[in-house]
Symmetry: C2
Subunit: 369 residues, 2 copies
DNA sequence: CTGTTAGCGCATTCAA
DNA sequence: TTGAATGCGCTAACAG
């Protein structure tokens, strides 16, 4: 059954009358369950779909009565606008993607909550993608988000990510991107970070102030800019206080907690073991504390420990973990705001901004008995 | 400039030749930045867009050379398929929505990871929505997901949710829904839960076995089915072991941790305070332990504590928290599988399934010194 | 193997 | 205030 040669007038009729059945049959493959469209409403009310569309979108030039009738029928027919069609037509989805590498720690979820509040106020929906620290998943997600035509992207990359081409495509398409926490240095997009260097510097300075002299650092992978910054802060703090930088006491690792145990054990087995430990993040610090306690070291007398981020768990463990707190909600809010700035900047100028937030050193029992 | 009267043939030409400019001008409002489409590729290669489409979708009936040329040009033009258009056409988005009420505890993120793995294998993308325990946000999210035409929904509702109409719409549209953890009793959809009754029963039985006689219960809100089930398990355990059910020792609350502190204090101020505490979840139990410790009660000698879910934090706190472990990944995997079953069931039968997974009692220092 | 045509659902422009 | 026509980008049916 082919309808290609049916005259135009008749084709129009199909939509409104009996012939629709043929069309349905023709497209059997697609058809699942018919969902109410504006055409259904138009037909039942003897209106054109244009009028129905206007009524539904609060267009000013519609008779009040007509609008009322349309809205009522839409309600009773369970009409739901098809956002796909609207987005296809308008080239805007009013949706932004947020991609994070993990969400088992409190950090990323909290950032998302902050961002979501700001975006919702501006009328944007949020879709969250989780790359699970996998570069391949990140690439797939990025393509899916692009194919779904998100209006913008807020992202923190995986620790495996060294090639950023899958994000550069967004730039080329003029889809604004905002990095946070883990940022790509080489891309000229907006970024929100904390002053990792300064946070690390002050953490190590604090350890030195408590009399520690052999301070080890469990560093993150070199692929993360914040790892490098924290490492630099650690180094400079030692240097400025006249302490030697001992590479034996610096261990870069991929943040896999099982490995953390091994490295801590290794450090404590050195002929001249460290008297303090500065960890890249709180989970690492906490894992370190567990190992230290199980081996009978006293915290902080034998070994002091400092983490980074002020994870809720750092208050639970005993002694409490000294850590560098980040303004987590604020990171999310700022990232969302930077994105909105670009989204609403109709000058088309991709004016990027770089926000660096300050950290706060929270001192607990793991450094001061 | 109006083109409505331009003859058909000419309109076709527009797409391929100079007249396109006029069209562009006409649609100025929409135009932001032109993205490469199959028509661009077709024109440059002197092909029809059908051929290009076939080449791009691995359709068998395409000349190998042609395909090669298309793929190369697509690559160099930075072509990206427009999923919106495809979804609109096929009525399938190959996307499922997952909506959760919170993700600051480990539970929901872990479920999502489990679900995501199964769904990704089946070729589905996942978009995560976060209702933040707000009924209004949940309704908004549900509408957005429906408007975006997700193929299915996996959901755990907020503690405020008493009206489920926003989920019933999915049913009417034949979009399969799977509830997990917090389920709606009245909807005939697939569900994945754990045996909350049994878990609670055994937890309380364990407390009784350690000699406790006045066991209090910090229960969740009555709006959650799992709260009710856990409460029933608690009650029946007491009853079957000949202990009285004392309503003074049962406090239902909204899981707001600040309130937990107040209730625990209140309980311990009773003339005849409890000698054990069974909490609805681990965060509550941990908060309770903090209060008990700060007031000088010994755990478990003065007061034993049991939680629910085996949150990672339950291993960190001292003493370790006895808790009812749930198979979290498995919940996610099963929920995803139930959804896939319905998605791929082309008989159109919405055969729903109900999976109840078993829990495991993890005994730690908070109940056995 | 390739081209032509239709239509997914909608917002908008032009004509009435 | 309303109707008719157009096209967003794509896939598939049909006709060569």
């Amino acid at each position: 059954m082919r309808l290609g040669n049916v005259p135009n007038k008749m084709r129009t009729l199909e939509r409104y009358g009996l012939l629709r059945i043929l069309v349905l049959r023709k497209n059997t493959i697609y058809m699942t369950h018919h969902q109410t469209t504006i055409i259904d409403i138009a037909r039942q009310l003897g209106l054109s779909k244009s009028t129905v569309s206007r009524a539904l979108t609060n267009h000013p030039h519609v008779n009040a009565d007509t609008r009322q009738r349309v809205l009522e029928l839409a309600e009773s027919l369970d009409y739901q606008r098809n956002q796909l069609a609207i987005s296809l037509l308008t080239s805007r989805t009013r949706t932004v993607g947020i991609m994070i590498p993990e969400f088992l720690s409190f950090f990323f979820p909290k950032v998302i909550i902050g961002a979501q509040v700001v975006l919702a106020e501006a009328g944007y929906n949020v879709i969250i993608c989780h790359s699970n620290e996998s570069y391949a998943t990140e690439v797939t997600n990025a393509q899916a988000l692009l194919a779904s035509r998100v209006d913008g992207l807020i992202v923190s990359h995986t620790k495996e990510t060294r090639n950023f081409d899958h994000f550069r495509v967004f730039e080329r398409r003029h889809v604004p991107v905002v990095f946070f926490n883990r940022v790509c240095e080489d891309m000229a997009v907006s970024k929100v970070t904390v002053d990792d260097y300064d946070g690390a510097f002050r953490a190590v300075e604090h350890l030195i102030a408590t009399g520690k002299k052999r301070i080890a650092h469990l560093a993150g992978p070199d692929s993360l800019q914040n790892s490098r910054n924290r490492l630099n802060g650690y180094r400079d703090a030692l240097q400025q206080h006249g302490l030697p930088i001992n590479n034996e006491l610096i261990i870069s690792y991929d943040l896999n907690l099982d490995k953390a145990k091994i490295y801590v054990s290794h450090l404590m087995n050195l002929p001249d073991p460290p008297d303090a430990l500065f960890a890249m993040n709180d989970p690492t610090a906490i894992e370190a504390m567990k190992v230290l306690k199980s081996r009978g070291f006293r915290i902080p007398d034998d070994v002091a420990v400092v983490g980074f981020s002020n994870d809720p768990a750092s208050m639970l463990i005993e002694p409490g973990l000294t850590t560098v707190a980040q303004p987590v909600d604020e990171i999310g809010r700022q990232a969302a705001q930077l994105l909105l700035n670009q989204l609403t900047d109709n000058k088309g100028g991709m004016a990027t901004e770089n926000i660096v937030l300050q950290t706060e050193l929270i001192i607990r029992g793991s450094t001061t008995g």
